[in-house]
């Protein structure tokens, strides 16, 4: 059976259907989950999709982290289940403390909506396990607050523990160390600003996101078997 990829819908999410389609293009089955539920049900991976959860009021992700479903997401992550946050989902994961650091407003205060050239800088995460180290991927970004920042000690840990999974080739938003995506210690929780689901079909201009989504589906099927 195809692994079930749960995609959390917050009020204001707007990429959930794209992620479902992307997950299915990668061989999974997409399942929408509601943010107000306290259980995830039978899913093998969880994706927090892009959008404007709770209107991005206060700060992106600041209110979503108190959504009832987040306790279940936290437990799922703690048990080793694959959890991915894309764009707004990445912001939610940092606000929830599942990933370190924060996403600030882009340098020069520009909203960025463009293809971004990325380099795979670690393959020891559920999102990049199937990619090749140093591989270049072109995947769209679409955000105002994607400027990754953290303190010096955290940055050093991310670097030495091989947890920076994707870097921008030309760092459009001013992130420290050109970080586009990071993982937690175990590699099962990953946040990234680029949208792999928007690069999952040649009709969309790029299929470069598929290698990431396939890695996720692969990790989900391993997690389902465990």
């Amino acid at each position: 059976m195809a692994p079930r990829i749960g995609v959390v819908v917050f009020p204001g999410s707007n990429c959930e259907h794209d992620v479902v389609q992307g997950a299915e293009a990668a061989g999974g089955t997409g399942v929408l989950l509601w943010h107000g539920d306290t259980q995830l049900g039978a899913v093998d991976a969880v994706v927090l999709p892009g959008g404007f959860a709770h209107g991005d009021y206060l700060r992106p992700g600041a209110l979503a982290r108190f959504s009832p479903v987040m306790e279940a997401v936290r437990d799922f992550a703690r048990a080793g289940g694959p959890v991915i946050g894309i764009c707004n989902g990445f912001q939610v994961l940092t606000e929830a403390g599942l990933l370190p650091g924060a996403l600030q407003k882009n340098g020069r205060l520009r909203f960025l909506c463009q293809p971004a050239r990325l380099t795979v800088s670690s393959t020891s995460s559920v999102l990049t396990a199937g990619a090749t180290l140093g591989e270049e991927l072109v995947i769209p970004i679409n955000h105002f607050s994607g400027n990754y920042t953290c303190d010096e000690a955290t940055l050093q840990r991310l670097q030495t523990e091989d947890r920076i999974v994707l870097r921008y080739a030309d760092n459009p938003n001013g992130s420290v160390d050109a970080i586009a995506g990071i993982a937690n210690e175990a590699g099962n929780v990953v946040g990234l600003m680029p949208h792999p689901e928007r690069a999952s079909n040649a009709l969309l201009g790029s299929e470069d996101g598929l290698v990431l989504l396939r890695s996720l589906v692969g990790a989900a099927s391993t997690s389902a078997a465990a």
């Binding site: 206060l58 940092t94 924060a102 600030q104 340098g107 205060l109 920042t149």
Partner: protein, 83 residues
């Protein structure tokens, strides 16, 4: 007792503040040539019911640190007045 709380949230020193920097760059064009070190921030006000000022301060500080500010990049100050 009831208190009015005012919480100001600003980016920590050392964290780049593109909003403050943009405002500062616009100032000379408006004729303000004596202003420097602009930092942007947000202000919140709310009322707290508590037994005394210490308890109100504790509650308001917790709210500021758990929700209103992101301690990774921001810091907050609290001003409290009995009403």
């Amino acid at each position: 007792m009831r208190f009015r709380a005012r919480v100001e949230v600003q980016l920590r020193p050392g964290i780049a503040d593109p909003e403050g920097a943009t405002i500062e760059r616009a100032l000379p064009a408006l004729g303000f040539d004596s202003i420097a070190h602009v930092r942007a921030g947000r202000s919140f006000s709310f009322e707290v019911d508590a037994a005394d000022e210490g308890a109100a301060r504790l509650t308001a500080t917790e709210l500021a640190e758990r929700l209103l500010a992101n301690p990774v990049i921001e810091q907050s100050t609290l001003d409290l007045q009995a009403i």
